[in-house]
């Protein structure tokens, strides 16, 4: 019972109808004006209230609004702070519970333990890759290009002036020192995720067939809609002929 509903239990109600539901739900002022049943027969009012009378300490007012024997109490004035505290505390605890319940329902969408375990680092042997060739391996479901670059390709990659690049990065930042011939990049176009084709395009690097992005021999974006260079995955040289990706 609250201000938007002056009379309890009426099927139609006009008074206070200009409140929103939120007003009604979040202003718990209902016990202030509740309808209670008038005492009948020989019972005294206290008996009517039963065990609750001590809580409400209500003084019945003769607010017989529609001549229906309805009496309103003024208990809201009695312990406003205690009552409000109880409602707020209950609501807060329930809200905390609801939030905590949502957590596992959402967290379950994250990769599960077996997926994470399968994403462990992998080792790749470089010996079979001849100069000028490249291979594609998969790590965490992503294609990784490993190119054995030729002298010419390395030179091209190093010569280019950084100011002419859309995403300036020197070639040395994209390969491991002392291993200039090995380019390791994630083969996913930085535009919208297609897989560029190696050894294609006007820079002898990669060419993405989806929307025409062209990457050079260092995997840097040179033209087309892709905004950034092909990313370099985390990897280290275990030996001169073996790398560990991840």
């Amino acid at each position: 019972m609250h201000a938007c509903e002056p009379i309890a239990g009426l099927r139609s109600y006009g008074k206070g109808a200009n409140r929103t539901i939120l007003d009604c739900l979040f202003r718990p002022d209902w016990p202030g004006k509740v309808v209670f049943l008038p005492p009948r027969g020989p019972r005294a009012p206290a008996a009517t209230f039963g065990r609750d009378s001590s809580v409400s300490g209500a003084v019945p007012l003769a607010a017989d609004e529609k001549g229906l024997g309805i009496v309103t109490t003024a208990s809201s004035a009695d312990h406003p702070t205690r009552r409000d505290f109880l409602f707020v505390a209950t609501g807060a605890v329930a809200a905390v519970g609801a939030a905590a319940t949502v957590w596992p329902l959402v967290a379950q969408m994250n990769p599960d333990a077996s997926t994470i375990a399968a994403g462990a680092p992998i080792e790749v042997d470089l010996t079979p890759i001849a100069e000028g060739q490249d291979i594609k391996v998969f790590w965490r479901g992503k294609p990784i290009y490993i190119s054995h670059r030729t002298k010419k390709q390395i030179e091209e990659a190093q010569k280019v002036s950084l100011s002419s690049l859309p995403d300036p990065q020197p070639d040395s930042a994209r390969v491991k020192a002392g291993h200039d011939q090995w380019l390791v990049v994630i083969g996913i176009c930085t535009h919208l995720g297609c897989i560029p084709i190696a050894h294609e395009g006007s820079y002898d690097g990669f060419f993405c067939p989806c929307h025409g992005s062209v990457y050079d021999t260092s995997g840097r974006i040179r033209s087309g809609p892709a905004p950034t260079n092909l990313p370099v995955p985390p990897y280290t040289f275990v030996s001169d002929t073996k790398i560990q990706i991840g």
Partner: protein, 690 residues
Amino acid sequence: MSGPSDFQPTNPALKWIERRLPIMGLVHSSFVAYPTPRNLNYWWTFGAILSMMLALQIVTGVILAMHYTPHADLAFKSVELIVRDVNYGWLLRNMHACGASMFFFAVYIHMFRGLYYGSYKEPREILWILGVIIYLLMMATGFMGYVLPWGQMSFWGATVITNLFSAVPYFGESIVTLLWGGYSVGNPTLNRFFSLHYLLPFVIAGVVVLHIWALHVAGQNNPAGVEAKTEKDTVPFTPYATIKDAFGVSCFLLFFAWFIFYMPNYLGEADNYIPANPGVTPPHIVPEWYYLPFYAILRSIPNKLAGVVAMFGAILILAFLPWLDNAKTRSSKYRPLAKQFFWVFVVVCLLLGWLGSKPAEGIYVVAGRILTFMYFAYFLILLPLLSRIETPRPVPNSIADDVLAKTGSKSTPMVSTVLALLVAGGLLAGGMQHARAAEGQEKPPGNKWSFAGPVGKFDRGALQRGLKVYKEVCASCHGLSYIAFRNLAEAGGPGYSVAQAAAFASDYKVKDGPDDKGEMFERPGRPADYFPSPFPNENAARAANGGAFPPDLSLINKARSYPRGFPQFLVDFFTQYQEQGPDYVSAVLQGYEDKPPAGFSLPEGSYYNKYFPGHAIKMPKPLSDGQVTYDDGAPATVAQYSKDVTTFLMWTAEPHMEARKRLGLQVFVFLILLTGLLYFTKKKVWANAH
């Protein structure tokens, strides 16, 4: 739904919406202003509890479907992987599986409440019939859901239940083939059951909307069974019913959480942790507890067709209840005879449920027939008769009178009925714990397990020693295929470091491939690999073991059980005893006797074991003193080996047990706090309404 609402929001944006789609008015008139009888007792909160359960089942079910694989070869494993690998997967799975039981538990109370207070009588016939339809849909959904984990009980439950339709004259066989999509229960069956199991809950939700609509047209019944006449008889739904329902729901959640966190397998069958095997039927096929009364009716009729008809009839008869009972007085409170027979009927249903869990033989069959007769007699003879001969007591003039007459009186009868029902329900539930009730089996001795009880934890030392025993002894015949080496380093496990687990893994040779040339090759194990199985396939395993198949041990502690008997299983519910499996496994490991007792003829190639069902086991005595060297000073005895390896196998069966119990404690603290707060809030809100 109490007529067009004149609810008007003030906010201009809300006003704009409301003019075009009066949804706030609908919500307001249905769940805020809706007048609800002021004398409703707590039995009426089960409507809200059921709504919550339906929502919960749908949410958890949709989530589980994101991780589940509906394929005969993969379903069992995918469920295990949900429990083991998915974040909070164990929680979601327990919520969904126990949730089904809770859903039925609540719906039975809801139905008995309707029965007792005459809620099916004019003008609520349609409301009641919609309820019966919901119940039927629930049964179908529950059954198909139980098939999805594709364990032994799933498979054989599906076989038995679908075969019910073969009783149909002439078309039976064709109908069953149609249901299966094959010549037996198989992958097509599993696939369609998954599809339908996903669909039906939404159908239920639709019928629930109709159910609530019908409820809001007719208005709620109430314990007095007299209609609300004036506004003195009612209180607005919000806050009165809302807060009372919230309190009821919160109490129910406490009960529910007990199962989720502490007794997740109490209502389940150990056999369902054995993957489906079309070649072997478990010794005792029992459906889930909520179908047991109907299962008992099915079995007590010696004719196939008649049994099936009786079983479905037992449910459908509910739909005719409004016309079978035409007594004018609604509430059994005022019907001295009907009230007593109601309780007799409740007992009949519980006993039928208990019988459904028993083998269909001897005295159980006779009792089943008597109770089946009583079940139908209640509807077909007793209720029609009572409406003629019974003189009801006078009903109150109005709900308000009823409330005034009761104010100040105690509500103890309610409490005692709840207690009685809980005990009876526990009895029914426990009565079905029959998975391994083999005759002549000795009861395994109880053990003190470190992981038992509400705060139980695995003993790390025992886990590490148990792993050693497994590796050096069991692993020569038994696989451990659900455990990956990485698990050894996970929290709640044997407590190895990631590096130790990796080193442990590298001792194993794992088959991988194909390589560039298309050849398979062997490489050292990695943490992500699973324990390799000793045999490439089941046939090879059988050939090497005298025809017996050494089962995979990952789940052995959950897949084995023994009957606890009455009243022990009832006590178990409160003491949280869940260790039938470990007790049995460790007993079998130690139960070998060199000489079988006189008069026992041991088959060739078998060994005598005191605790193995039937006593003749194909596995030779696996452990002997001093066989495995412990480096932590623990005694090298068979007793210690058994204890350690059983502890280890309990961990492999449930790697997240510690997380489950830990979260359980937190949830309980929270729920008790919330329930207490809701109780006082409810008291405050209702203070003036009584």
